[in-house]
């Protein structure tokens, strides 16, 4: 399974992205587990809402942080996320 550029990306239905007030971080929750996310991972996962494709996510974040060259980092993270089953893709 590899990351596809032509499909929408969303968080897997068994997972939940949530802001944690006590710790001031985003976490990804799933059966009996949680992943504490750093800021960049959280920014990417917030855009995995079934409305965006890879290119949209890159463009949105580069524009939000007024920067360029985020493509590799975003692809690397989403590949890991897909491998771990945190996200899924659909047409």
């Amino acid at each position: 399974m590899s990351l596809r550029t032509d499909q929408l990306i969303q968080i897997h239905s068994g997972y939940r992205l949530q802001w944690e007030e006590a710790q001031q971080i985003f976490v990804l929750l799933y059966p009996e587990g949680l992943i504490e996310l750093n800021q960049s991972s959280a920014e990417i996962l917030q855009l995995c809402d079934g409305q965006h494709k890879l290119a949209d996510i890159i463009q949105t974040l580069e524009s939000k942080f007024s920067t360029t060259g985020l493509e590799n980092d975003i692809i690397n993270f989403l590949t890991i996320a897909l491998d771990n089953g945190w996200i899924t893709q659909h047409a």
Binding site: G14, E20, A22, Y30, E32, L34
Partner: protein, 364 residues
């Protein structure tokens, strides 16, 4: 200030219709009949959530025997917990599965004792096999993610392949192949439960094969047997760093086995707030950091990774919880583990002692 609790294990009751001889509940559970009230639990849930706890396991005993389970699930869901029900699924009908879903339950973990009816029902001490299978289907039908948890030991480990086939058939999302950890009843029955090295090697090979073939479909966790690793497990991700267990009668524990540590004075939630317990109690501070460590842990490169291993195991096997975990090959007590694994190479003719109130009263 210590890091906040992230994981709350709510042991709602010690009552259980099953009698599994590997249960981690204390041998003398029958002495502790008092249970926290619904309001007590709500207070614990709220205070823990405010501190940062976000993963919540309802466990026991069998949590389904608590009449207020749905109410507690709903309350926890409103507080923003990710709610896990850890159950034998015994007596769980479709109405209950739907009711809990409506209350906001996120996930159900079902235990399975074996892949054949005869062995499953023998180990559970109760006829549960057919019912468990049926309930698993209901759980999937209602759209829950489902974890199948199978505690492995010398009496069922040979079924690992058919257990995994059954998990695939039941469409489990995750499978936990948990080699028995020896506390409570499991410790009492250790010699009848500890598998031989050959049994383990065969099982591990099969688990790995399925991990590969099921990649992307069903996640398989294989909990390593520390008796054969020569390395201790990283107890509770570090004492008082992540996990908080509340017993049915309201003791707060840094680990679900800590109740058996003597002279430990685990604080009660009836008299103390969760933040006071977590931050200030002697029990939760006891094994924080590494100042308390003895050699060989104190000067060991691994001490920040394994935290000297499991303190409850050190106590059970050596009589002193601050000794290095004997599972570690560097421990001066490692011969105790080796003796047990050597014994496991031979036939064992002792009978299992089942976890029930009669045996608990006899043993406490």
């Amino acid at each position: 200030m210590p890091s906040p609790p992230r994981w709350l294990l709510a042991e709602l009751t010690y009552r259980c219709p099953l009698q599994c001889p590997y249960c981690s509940n204390p041998l003398d559970y029958a002495k502790h009949k008092d249970e926290l009230s619904t309001d007590d639990w709500k207070r614990v849930l709220k205070q823990s959530r405010e501190m940062g706890a976000v993963q919540l396991g309802f466990s026991g005993g069998e949590p389904l025997v608590r009449k207020d389970l749905t109410e507690l699930v709903q309350y926890s869901h409103q507080l923003g917990y990710y709610t896990n029900l850890i159950t034998s699924a015994y007596n769980m009908d479709e109405k209950k599965v739907i009711e809990l879903k409506k209350a906001g339950l996120d996930h159900i973990q079902i235990s399975l004792q074996a892949s054949s009816k005869e062995l499953n029902d023998f180990i559970a001490g109760t006829e549960t096999f057919e019912h468990k299978k049926k309930t698993a289907q209901l759980i999937k039908k209602q759209g829950y993610p489902m974890v199948l948890c199978v505690v492995l030991h010398r009496q069922n480990i040979h079924q690992i392949e058919s257990i995994l086939d059954m998990a695939i058939e039941l469409e489990a999302d995750f499978v936990e192949l948990a080699n028995t950890q020896y506390y409570g009843w499991a410790q009492h029955n250790r010699d009848q439960l500890l598998p031989s090295q050959l049994q383990l090697q065969q099982a591990e090979k099969i688990a790995k094969r399925y991990q590969t073939s099921q990649k992307g479909k069903m996640k398989i966790y294989y909990v390593i047997p520390d008796y054969y690793e020569g390395k201790p497990k990283a107890c509770m991700n570090g004492w008082g760093t992540t996990f908080l267990t509340i017993t049915p009668d309201g003791l707060a524990l840094p680990c679900h086995s800590a109740r058996q540590l003597p002279n430990f004075d685990c604080p009660s939630v009836k008299e103390n707030s969760i933040s006071d317990i977590w931050n200030n109690s002697i029990a939760f501070n006891y094994f924080r950091g590494d100042n308390w460590m003895k050699e060989p842990c104190r000067s060991c490169d691994e001490k920040d990774k394994d935290f000297a291993g499991c303190h409850c195991q050190s106590f059970l096997l050596t009589g002193d919880a601050s000794n290095a975990d004997p599972a570690c090959k560097l421990s001066p007590h490692h011969h105790l583990i080796e003796k047990a694994t050597q014994q496991a190479e031979q036939d064992n003719e002792h009978e299992l002692v089942f976890r029930n109130t009669k045996n608990s009263n006899r043993l406490s």
